[in-house]
């Protein structure tokens, strides 16, 4: 039991101290490339001998410099990420990768280039017609350009190195999926905050090291007897679910997170990279294989049904939608999610979240009321 607590506390420490983690990696002799939401081909960075480092903004960050670039109605994830960049928090990174998967991300890249010229900006351009051959060909071409540049920044990327990186990442994904199931089985061992910290810490560590720790954690928890949980079981969905205030409200109300459809959580690891002769082809195909994400084109809008299926599998009592304020893609999905949950008879609640949020009393009341309803 004490080893479980020790691993959880170690990962919690990483999740809470990205700055220190960044310095440790760089002081240890590794180069780092920042990766903004939602999907960056991290395997390319890893194959170039560098460490990809997640940048998803910061809670409670006071915005001052970012206001010189963004109007107020851009999400707090990107506002706070830009603020960090303008403050010099990424100056030790070799480059920062920024995709164009939503309109605010498009602006983010341009503003980063203008405001943080000391750190190289690497745009990541994905196609939205991602399942067609035309889209795949385009993505392979874009990945090849990134491969070339990252190879120059780090070390040249051979097919072997890339295949190895893909293998390490697929392994990490598998272990993280297992962790999500483990946490669902053992809410008495892994609280909502700890679950979040285990996942979040993966953004700030070498994936191979993170895999080892989480694999051990899964093993240790798996050996514990499954005991009845007298609290409630929920699925969370949204861009982020890492607010410590919100997670402690969940805990206070005896709510366990037994699964998620969160961009910064399961969406990062639920789709493996197919192993192909040309590893770039596999990397591109993974992007075609992804489903149920608000920033990826899907006229069938499968996301709602996917969450319903997950809720049933994990025996969830309800779904909590954590809607990031000013996130167009998520806001457009919400009416369809609600419809899917209602049709399946799954109780759900919408809580608007924001990295600048300080007063959680409204959220707390909503969570309490929701718990009563379940």
């Amino acid at each position: 039991m004490s080893e479980i607590k020790s691993i959880l506390s170690q990962l919690d420490c990483v999740a809470k101290n990205p700055r220190r983690q960044l310095d440790m990696i760089i002081d240890g002799g590794k180069n780092v490339v920042g990766c903004l939401p939602v999907y960056c081909p991290e395997e390319l960075v890893y194959a170039a001998g560098m460490i990809p480092f997640g940048i998803w903004g910061a809670d409670g960050k006071e915005l001052s410099k970012a206001k010189l670039y963004f109007p107020a109605f851009i999400c707090s994830v990107l506002q706070s990420a830009l603020e960090l960049g303008l403050e010099g928090a990424f100056d030790r990174m070799k480059a920062v990768m920024i995709p164009v998967l939503c309109d605010s991300l498009k602006c983010m890249g341009q503003n980063f280039k203008a405001g943080v010229p000391q750190v190289e900006f690497l745009p990541v351009i994905h196609p939205q017609n991602r399942k067609t051959e035309a889209g795949q060909e385009f993505l392979r071409s874009q990945y090849m350009k990134l491969r070339k540049r990252l190879g120059e920044i780090g070390t040249p990327i051979s097919d072997e190195k890339l295949a190895e990186a893909i293998n390490i990442y697929n392994n990490h994904r598998r272990v993280m999926r297992e962790f999500s199931e483990t946490a669902a089985k053992h809410p008495e061992l892994i609280s909502a905050s700890e679950r979040s910290a285990v996942i979040k810490s993966g953004f700030f560590m070498d994936k191979a090291e993170h895999t080892k720790l989480v694999e051990r954690l899964n093993l240790l928890c798996g050996a514990e007897p499954v005991v009845p949980w007298d609290g409630k079981r929920v699925i969370v969905t949204g861009i982020l679910a890492d607010s410590s205030s919100l997670l402690s409200i969940f805990e206070k109300n005896g709510i366990a997170v037994v699964g998620d459809d969160v961009a910064a959580e399961s969406r990062q690891f639920r789709t493996d990279v197919p192993v192909t002769k040309d590893p770039i082809e596999g990397l591109a195909r993974q992007f075609a294989d992804m489903e149920g994400c608000s920033v990826l084109f899907d006229p069938e809008k499968k996301r709602g049904d996917m969450i319903v299926k997950l809720a049933k599998e994990r025996k969830a009592d309800g779904v909590i939608v954590l809607l990031t304020k000013f996130c167009d893609p998520e806001e457009f999905d919400y009416p369809f999610l609600k419809r899917a949950f209602d049709a399946a008879g799954i109780p759900s609640i919408l809580i608007e979240v924001d990295r600048q949020m300080v007063n959680y009393s409204q959220a707390e009341t909503a969570v309490e009321a929701f718990r009563e309803m379940l």
Binding site: P71, D103, S104, Q110, Q128, N129, E137, P299, Y334, F336
Partner: protein, 403 residues
Amino acid sequence: MEERKPAKILLREIADAAYQRAWDAKNAGEKVGWCASNFPVEIPAALDIPVVYPENQAAAIAAKGGGQRMCEHAEGLGYSNDLCAYARINMAFADLKTCEELDMPQPDFVLCCNNICNCMIKWYEALAKTLNIPMILVDIPYNTEYEVSEDRIRYIRKQFDEAIQKLCEITGKTFDPKKLEESMKVSNRTSRAWLKATDYCKYIPSPLNGYDLFNHMAVAVCARASVEAAEAFEQLAEEYAQSVKDGTSTYRGEQKYRIMFEGIACWPHLRHTYTALKDRGMNVVATVYADAFGFIFENMDEMMAAYTNVPNCMNIERAADMRIKIAKRTSIDGAVIHVNRSCKLWSGIMPEIERRLRTEVGVPTVTFDGDQADPRNFTPAQYDTRIQGFYEVMEENKKGGGR
């Protein structure tokens, strides 16, 4: 000899006729589409498929005072009030099926292109799912480079072919490459005429009231591939040429200050935004629409590049250069910037563009908060105060021997 109608009447008739044509087709049992404003219009034109433009309808509804009612209806359906007001108005219309300000037929398919924003994809996804109809997406990824790379052109080109094939399947029409060539030719002719007409803004005084362009641009965008549109813009250019000779203008009164209006019109408060400028002798002589909607291309590859080089798809350097070029050519005294609550992409790089405009062109700028279609996001008092302050700066500049 019968006196010919003024171009502005012709342009209005063309816009109205597009809606009528769609109604006639719908009533005759033909398939009708809803189309994103910057979807390659040459495709439906080549296939002779009637389409209408939700953005155009939403702007008209907002201008006629229906914006808030429609937005609130969409909010009742679960769409956040943070979302684009054009999208909200259209989702409300898709639910209500009718609108007193402007009606249009319901769609059998939707044609989407994200060269103006990815919000468009989510909006059209929602339409396709809600109405259970097919969606065709021509994906034009945001261009982070200055020029359009080969791989982008190949990708877009292939999507053209796929879009044509899918449209043929949906509508039962057959594709004739010659017709596409023809529609490309006409579209170029219209664009040239549009550029020629809008170029008259550079004259001092300008022969046109800049706000006229907000009305005319709908035809430049949506009806580009029609001969009538080409002819109407050619006539418009002739009229402006004559005005320059005669020293007349559609702007009434003295044009004391020449300004750039940056952003989409604030449709619900069009009159208010206009009057505050007009009262102070300001005429709009520069908008990005002038250059941005002149799609000029010689061949298919250039057409793919043209659809990438639209305002919301270009990187910050190109976006700034385009505005600086227009500002210099039209000799502006200042720029009024609409921080449009509906448009994250347009507004999200505007502060940096504003700084570059000030530095490179050396003119004062002012921003105001507004919205293209939701009247609740605009405060008349803020607008008036800012415009007055802006006016005073320009006045000082003039006294100081500036422009």
